[in-house]
Symmetry: C2
Subunit: 492 residues, 2 copies
Amino acid sequence: MTAYDDLMAHQRQTEALAQIAGRLSWDRETVMPRGAAAQRSEEAGALSEVLHARRTDPRIGDWLEAASGEALDQAGEAQLRHIRRSYERTQRVPCDLAARIAKFTALSQGRWAEAREADDFAAFAPVLAEVVALRREEGAALADGGDIYDAMLDDYEPGAKAVDLEAMFGALRPGLIALREAALGAAAAPVVSGQFDVQTQMRLARQLAKVCGYDMTRGRIDKAVHPFSSGSGDDVRITTRTSDDEPFNCIYSTMHEAGHAIYEQSIDPAYALTPLGAGVSMGVHESQSRIVENQLGRSRAFTGWLYGQLRDAFGDFGIDGPDAFYAAANSLHRGYIRTEADEVQYNLHILMRFDLERALVSGDLAPGDLEEAWNARFLRDFGYAVPRASQGCLQDVHWSVGLFGYFPTYSLGNVYAGCLAEALRQAVPTLDDQLADGDMSAAMAWLRENVQQHGGLYTPRELITRACGAEPSEAPLMNYLEQKFGALYPAG
Amino acid sequence: MTAYDDLMAHQRQTEALAQIAGRLSWDRETVMPRGAAAQRSEEAGALSEVLHARRTDPRIGDWLEAASGEALDQAGEAQLRHIRRSYERTQRVPCDLAARIAKFTALSQGRWAEAREADDFAAFAPVLAEVVALRREEGAALADGGDIYDAMLDDYEPGAKAVDLEAMFGALRPGLIALREAALGAAAAPVVSGQFDVQTQMRLARQLAKVCGYDMTRGRIDKAVHPFSSGSGDDVRITTRTSDDEPFNCIYSTMHEAGHAIYEQSIDPAYALTPLGAGVSMGVHESQSRIVENQLGRSRAFTGWLYGQLRDAFGDFGIDGPDAFYAAANSLHRGYIRTEADEVQYNLHILMRFDLERALVSGDLAPGDLEEAWNARFLRDFGYAVPRASQGCLQDVHWSVGLFGYFPTYSLGNVYAGCLAEALRQAVPTLDDQLADGDMSAAMAWLRENVQQHGGLYTPRELITRACGAEPSEAPLMNYLEQKFGALYPAG
């Protein structure tokens, strides 16, 4: 056994235990009896301690040092890179600080939920101040003299820099605002009407997931309040949700989560239960969910096929023909909530959070002033005013537990999806003909080949650059949005 | 922190992790995608290693020694007794032997399944020989000079001795055989006919579990191939099964598993996630499932109420009135399979396995001669011949992985249930009136008060003696069976 072998054996068990932790979360959100919450929290805490001890095991440092002299292949070097990065991060944060953060964030989420319920930002402000202070302390330890926000970002998108995101997002913003203005000034899109049987929606969800390439023998679909995908390798489960009065929530939640899940299912099995055996970053993960949901799933070609499926399943639902259905599936309208936003306004939500959270972290924005800053920015970018805190700065859970650096990966994912969709259309010229038949197989094969199979082998930026033949840029996303929504909502 | 506190903190985390392992098994049997089996096996193996390391942690020995001088209350002393017992057992078995057993039994179950499928005992005989040899070696290590079979038994029923069981079972056998002979010589019981909608059966299962006192806010019911109960404290789940053409499988599987689950749910919450926080032994556990299933659930009074529920749910199903229904729910007929056997013949199955496995362990019976010995004994006790090995000595999984000492706890559970039912009827004189209304609350309150709440506080024998006011004996069970089946199948 070489040091590398020892290290990987240790790591493999850690990854296996981490999969169990993921399964417990799935269980909690889908099947757990409601009276089990407190006991579960203790159980999950015990597993979490085991994982922490394994991840900070000082032998990892010794193995890493010894293994650095060994001759390894590309995958081996990439494994070491991931393990070294994680281990160094755990080494930089003092145990005492990590414990204080864990303790505070265990409670702060509840305080946020109460404040949101009461629409009372003032009640949440001191909690936010403490979370910001703790995370800044952690960020400073992680940054080791470098940029604090970049150090936070690195947790979700390894190697990403705020200055690059700022340039990308800055270039997107005027175009997004122009599209939003044009759309909200134009005639409203057609809307579906009627009742949509839940069982039928769930049957359709299973069918759609399979059409996308989701392997149901290595996964399953259940309902949950907030849709999510969970697990890696041969056990990747998704959840979705349904509304009684419209089918899009279920359809696009399912396709989005299927996109995430298919990514995990498509990684080279040789990487299973290793650091390379999971999606490489939040941004790349989001690109896989978004391209399935939006560039493919909300395309004119695919919605044409989907319309036929829905007519078969539900009969008449007030939409007259595939063009109207396409418009309904891509409608832009007023709304305050990020998770319900369309392709255009979603990014406006993220750009705003990116700027606000950087200001919180740098100290330019006092936590107590967040609501005012939020509302002013929202009015500028969206053109209508936030009515209450629960529909404004209290809507997302992220900041309540100090997840700074997480939000921008959503829009970065959309940017990556834009790049990949452009490359995909060049590689598969007959894509629309296939989508019009409800056939995603060529598209998914291309994504598997060029992105998904590689797991964590390349850095996120390398991966997208290799797949697209060019460095990632916001231009393809902007072109796509302008073409699509420019046609749906023509100016004047 | 005293040594006792340190020990209990360690133990509590171990118990929490053990609950997770139980949840993983539940997941595997109910919701796991079938393609996930190999990965799951690795995940469960990793958790198993963590548990093993925690349970053999040498600090436990130090804490136990230091804590033995501390002043503790009754519960504290009982905790130490449980922890000491488990730790000493792990210390006695050499690591190398434990590893050889784990390795062999990981494969032997598959070999058994193949042999059963092929009805080929000869193919399984050498596997059995090796399992017996390994378990004897382990038993000798555990027994430390004492009786090897008793050391095995102690794993499932702490403190039980084969010589006592032999006396109990020996006293039962002639009476059981006489009841079996009378029943099989008499007219057959009425049988149900018709189709029983699965959804309706599952609705009924939920209703029945609640009637028994199962708390659905701290549990759930799903379908599984083999019904089981899983978990302790606030997350105790059960599974059941259904047959299309008769309702008894679902009804009594549900009530049996609800009995197990209610025991776990009823233990004093102060013992949660400690050694006292689970059912005290296999035998006592089985007594709680059996009394709910049989002495209560198959009583004339309760089946009278149940008949009305089934008529409401399914309409006419070929049974004319509650007396016929009672007879149908308690029918004795030929059969070869333990898990499908009635209250009388079930114990004949166990008595036979108890004698055969002791002979295997002592060396009096060569593993290669098991089939012949089984078939001869079966013919003697049951009065009809075993047609093939899959319906004979290959029917149960237990011996394939060397679970010797496990079978007798099933009949011991029936014996305990007999004692408890007798005491219960004295404590609740109006029991039948309540059962006739579908009301089990007084019965379950008595069981909770006298048995269930105590968890592992007393030894199994102490617990039953305290509850019943007398040492356990087979006489109440035999009286109950003779009264019940003597009336259902009168001699001549």
